[in-house]
């Protein structure tokens, strides 16, 4: 019989939210275990070569991978934090036991509190031949280039002008790959316009109200047919264009990775503004399953800056609920909540705010 690992706070996912949660909880005195599926923590931060937005408190001006290294170091230096790499959480049981697979072993963990920080996965869209080799998700392109140093091809069509589509296009240009264009079905660019302008002045056209009609090629992608959409998002006949590309990169949005929340019997709700099914939670990020918190994209897809603040908040709350940091926790909670409001106060944060109101108001979330 394998031994059951006892721990005060278990954090599932070692990305920006999970690592921030770990050091925040450990700083207050709680013992923390982080499960990370990959062979190294950091999540998507390790692939982010651009400077982050936000304020100093969210490490603005530093590049994503630098922030990742900093968060990892912060956890490594803290004796209260343990990180298990190459370990995938498998299930959260009724009695509170969490099972995981790590290095070929079936592991059992019995935590007092759980923070789910599993992030999000990429969406796919339907079009003829979307299974041809040469069609990638934007995350895969980033992994190939920025983790393994391999370019995906010679000439890329990017689908999606949200921040990921724009950033990955820029990274492709930096790697010397030609970007034939960025197409976006919506009438306006979804990502930050400074990213768009940076790519546009490098000569890459951004075509809003455009969609992919089909990909084609014998063995792998040889080209794509795109077309213009009218105001009802219907293809305008005669606007088809043929682009010779060997890579089609999809950056069409993310879905919260909530399987563990469903399985843990958290009450869930579909909120389009938060990009899919998300668990109901109170403002301290505790779900309807008491003692189970969420932070980062799993609680609604947003920027990494807010994921880090949410992680910190969840870490503080979980530790506080165990009796740690009674003197400072309320102040730290208030600071994190204020930072989140600040980040979401502008036009860019309206969608998230609307989503959170929908999630918390009408769903009967427990407090």
């Amino acid at each position: 019989m394998p031994k059951v690992k006892e721990i005060e706070i278990l954090i599932i996912g070692g990305g920006p939210a999970g690592l921030s949660a770990a050091s925040a909880a450990a700083d207050l005195g709680a013992s923390v275990l982080v499960l990370e599926r990959d062979d190294k923590p950091g999540g998507q931060l390790v692939k982010q070569t651009h400077k982050f937005f936000g304020s100093k408190k969210q490490y603005a001006g530093d590049r994503g991978y630098q922030i990742g290294n900093f968060l990892i170091e912060q956890c490594e230096k803290n004796p209260k934090v343990e990180v298990w790499n190459e370990t995938t959480a498998l299930g959260i049981y009724e009695d509170g036991v969490v099972t995981a697979e790590g290095q070929g072993k079936h592991l059992k963990i019995n935590p007092e509190k759980i923070i789910v920080a599993t992030g999000a996965s990429e969406k796919m869209i339907a079009f003829p031949n979307n299974d041809l080799p040469g069609i990638y998700g934007a995350g895969a392109v980033q992994t190939l280039m920025n983790v393994y140093g391999i370019v995906p091809g010679q000439r890329v069509l990017m689908i999606g002008a949200g921040n990921i589509g724009l950033i990955v296009s820029y990274q492709l240009l930096q790697a010397g790959v030609e970007v034939a264009g960025i197409i976006e079905a919506a009438p306006t660019i979804g990502g930050y316009l400074v990213h768009a302008s940076k790519i546009r002045r490098a000569g890459v056209p951004i075509l809003t109200s455009h969609t992919i009609i089909e990909a084609y090629g014998q063995e792998s992608v040889e080209g794509a047919v795109i077309g213009k959409l009218d105001e009802q998002w219907q293809l305008i006949p005669g606007t088809e264009q043929d682009l010779k590309v060997d890579v089609i990169c999809l950056a069409v949005g993310l879905s919260p990775l909530t399987e563990l929340c469903f399985q843990a019997d958290c009450q869930m709700k579909y909120v389009p503004e938060l990009s899919g099914h998300v668990p109901l939670r109170n403002k301290y990020l505790e779900t309807t399953r008491l003692g189970l918190y969420v932070a980062g994209d799993v609680s609604g897809v947003e920027e990494a800056s807010s994921a880090m603040v949410e992680g910190r908040l969840a870490g503080i709350c979980a530790a506080y609920s165990l009796g740690y940091g009674n003197d400072v926790a309320p102040k730290l909670q208030a600071e994190a909540l204020a930072e989140l409001s600040e980040l979401r106060a502008g036009p860019a944060g309206q969608k998230t705010l609307k989503g959170i109101i929908k999630l918390m108001d009408k769903g009967g979330a427990a407090c």
Partner: protein, 167 residues
């Protein structure tokens, strides 16, 4: 239009341009940030007190052109690579535009590179006057480009390897 194409319009640019009089006094920052996003490193970068502190982190940067001495610290700190420095007093006919640069290879001083406008169109080949490294941590280079005065508010990017689309 900017939110459909990524190209700031002439009207957009006008809202962040100093007066002719200010241009004639020396280098000045042009902050081409037109969308309210949660971001404020420029306000902390500015040691001249020219970029006002933001009440709300989502505010657009506000630059006092008369306080700005064109030092360029904000240029290398802006995560959006949206700040340029224009010195219209470089010579009788030429200006210097300082441009943030994050591609490889980095051009050499004295090299001729292609100047691009906000739409990525080639405006000619221009001389690189100076190259500043952003350092180990920041990594963004600042390229000082000598351009004809009348192009100082148009050249916003560079490309190495010569003119591609001669017509």
């Amino acid at each position: 239009m900017l939110n459909k194409t990524g190209i700031p319009t002439a009207e957009d640019v006008k809202t962040v341009s100093p007066s002719e009089e200010r241009f004639n006094k020396g280098p000045v920052a042009i902050i081409e940030c037109f969308q309210e996003i949660p971001c404020n490193p420029c306000t902390e970068a500015c040691k001249q007190g020219a970029i006002q502190p933001m009440e709300d982190i989502n505010n657009l940067p506000k630059l006092d052109f008369n306080q700005c001495n064109g030092c360029g610290v904000c240029l290398s700190r802006c995560p959006g690579l949206a700040i340029f420095i224009v010195d219209a007093t470089y010579s009788a006919t030429e200006a210097i535009v300082r441009i943030p640069f994050e591609y490889a290879p980095v051009p050499q001083v004295g090299e001729k590179v292609v100047g691009l406008n906000r739409a990525g169109e080639e405006l000619g080949t221009f001389n690189v006057h100076k190259v500043q490294s952003g350092g180990q941590k920041n990594k963004t280079y600042t390229i000082w480009l000598v351009v004809p005065k009348d192009l100082a508010m148009d050249v916003r990017g560079i490309r190495l390897g010569g003119i591609r689309h001669a017509n």
